[in-house]
Amino acid sequence: MTTTAAPPETAPAAPPGKDRSARLRVPAAFLAGAVLLLGVAPLALSDFRLSLLAKYLCFAIVAVGVSLAWGRGGLLVLGQGVFFGLGGYAMAMHLKLADAAAAGETLPDFMLLYGSGDTLPWWWQPFADPVFALAATVLLPMAVAALLGFLVFRRRVKGAYFAILSQALAAALAIWLIGQQATTGGTNGLTDIQGFFGYDLRDPVNQRTVYVVIAVALLLTMALARMLFVSRYGELLVAVRDSEERVRFLGYNPADVKLVAYVVAAGMAGLAGALFVPAVGIISPALIGIVPSIGFVIGAAVGGRASLVGAVLGAVAVAWAQSTLSESFPAAWTYAQGLLFVLAVGFLPGGLASLGAVLRRRRTATTATPVPTTPVPATAVPTTPVPATPVPATANPKGETA
């Protein structure tokens, strides 16, 4: 391919700390979101609605990772289903074993059903240990991502090649899981999970607890992503997205930069998958193949891939629309989903988060351009008569005022 992947049209992140109000805006919004998720939602919503919201929030956690890897890093991660699935299966395997142990069996129910011998497969055995299983939900996806990312980025396989490989990985994992019916539950996946570390998941009170855990996890991943965004690493990541060669000439290794984003995004997807299991009680290949993997991207695309809040809200909105629309009009939802892809990606690449900026730009374009004498480009004039401070005194690369 001779053309380089052009960066998605995104407004650059506002330089941190313009003034006090801007600096406070992000924590304030974060706090408001936390109050809304943890305080208002559990009071305002019925048990059923709350468990649905818990499910959507899991998708939102995946979207945080997508926003990091794709929005900031330009890595079109089409295989997030793999990591979601690894996290989900790790959790579900432990919970199935715990359920079996509670029932006095040594094997999960589906293995008894398929009569696949009377010993647990070796690769199931470590998951009986809760610490191992919990660690695996995040570390296993990160390890897989690190391996694939290392192999792929080191050899400068990028752009479409990377997207297709990550997609093929999702297809391969789903096909493999379906093929190993006796040990993975096949197409059905791991279903009918009843206990969660000693608590009964069928009890609505415990479902509320699961919701709170998921909401806190979402807030934590958002905080982590935000910290990465504003760090030096975040700037480097955007730089790699926009011009990988220049970053390489500056002495950084773009492969490492991309690898970190990919691995962190994978860890987030794994966490989401692990939390999805107690919230919904099932994990199956239908949740991790090519179609759901691309589905993880659409929420972020609709909301705004480069905007963290946009991606999260987009993921929740799309998941909500899907479950409400597809119940009553399955066909209509498929058309709507396709149309969302076409419109959001094709015509509003910044997503809904950029809608305001796009409209503003259009308005200023129509009003300002006929009058070229308006003093709009004040910043573009280099010879401002009053330089507030001599330039060498504040050799501040970001142009911050002390």
Partner: protein, 294 residues
């Protein structure tokens, strides 16, 4: 020995199907950089075209022969329309073409479901394609030989078009240096649309070929599309021979692995092999050398 021959022939016939699908992709993805996820649905359109023609004509053999050019035109027209409506706006954002065309493919699948129903349909194979031919102790199914022949014919045709027609020269010029081609007076927009027409048309031909070996359904495109993209990735861009070699190699590898293990393990191993191969040749088997840094 018979087993080896049998598996190789199965592999070659899998490879022929992959090659037919991937040929169109080497044009649209390899040459133009557009990741057209709706390519599988253009294939589906070709298959349904063959189905409809058989319903209308009745004579299986005649309808198959009519279906080949018709499906080429139908799928090609769909491709040209897609290019004109959406893709030409996205040439600077190749990754986004993937998502946009994925949206299109979702809609086309649903459209097929609404028109033809969700269950698969079947065509009858013409009599001259139902037999077997004995060969060195093994039997070769004639329908698979037909697909192989069709694939090779398409490769030949495409090679001739690309090498020795003005159109092929224009396509290659646009691929190698779009700006230079433009200032040299080539209508790059029209070349793009023609390229897309041919690439999508080839998907239609692949669809007709698939009706000979399997059922026709709304999800038939999704089953092949990732494999076909992998063929182009491994084969390298802008070179037909890369796609040809890769398609047959992957087909044989797949069928040999399927014989010795299971279908699902074979898929995983093939993917691992591809990632390992890309360590050796990150740009695929054959590449178009350019001076660009990317």
């Amino acid at each position: 020995m018979t087993v080896v021959l049998n598996q190789s022939f199965t592999g070659i016939s899998i490879g022929a199907v992959l090659l037919l699908i991937a040929l169109g992709l080497t044009l649209t993805f390899g040459q133009m950089g557009v990741i057209n996820m709706a390519h599988g649905e253009f294939m589906m359109a070709g298959a349904y075209t063959a189905y409809l023609l058989q319903q209308a004509i009745g004579d299986a053999g005649f309808s198959l022969l009519v279906a080949l050019p018709t499906a080429f035109l139908v799928a090609g027209a769909m491709g040209a329309l897609l290019e004109w409506l959406l893709i030409r706006r996205l040439y600077t954002r190749p990754l986004d073409t993937l998502l946009v065309t994925w949206g299109v493919s979702l809609m086309l699948q649903q459209l097929a479901r609404d028109i033809f129903g969700a269950p698969n349909v079947q065509t009858r194979a013409p009599e001259w394609l139902t037999g077997n031919i004995g060969f060195a102790g093994t039997t070769l199914a004639t329908n698979r030989l037909f697909i192989l022949g069709l694939a090779l014919l398409c490769v030949l045709g495409l090679t001739v078009v690309m090498r020795s027609t003005p159109l092929g020269r224009r396509i290659r010029a646009v691929v190698q240096n779009r700006d230079l081609a433009k200032v040299s007076g080539i209508a790059t927009g029209r070349v793009d649309r023609t390229t897309f027409f041919i690439g999508s048309g080839l998907a239609g031909l692949a669809g007709v070929a698939l009706t000979l070996v399997g059922p026709i359904g709304p999800t038939m495109g999704t089953n092949y599309i990732v494999d076909a993209f992998l063929v182009v990735v491994v084969g390298g861009i802008a070179q037909l021979k890369g796609a040809v070699i890769t398609a047959f190699a992957l087909g044989v590898l797949q069928s040999v692995l399927e014989y010795s293990t299971t279908v699902s393990v074979a898929k995983v191993v093939v993917l691992v092999a591809i990632v390992a191969f890309l360590q050796w040749r990150p740009q695929g088997l054959y590449t178009l050398r350019t001076r660009s840094l990317a």
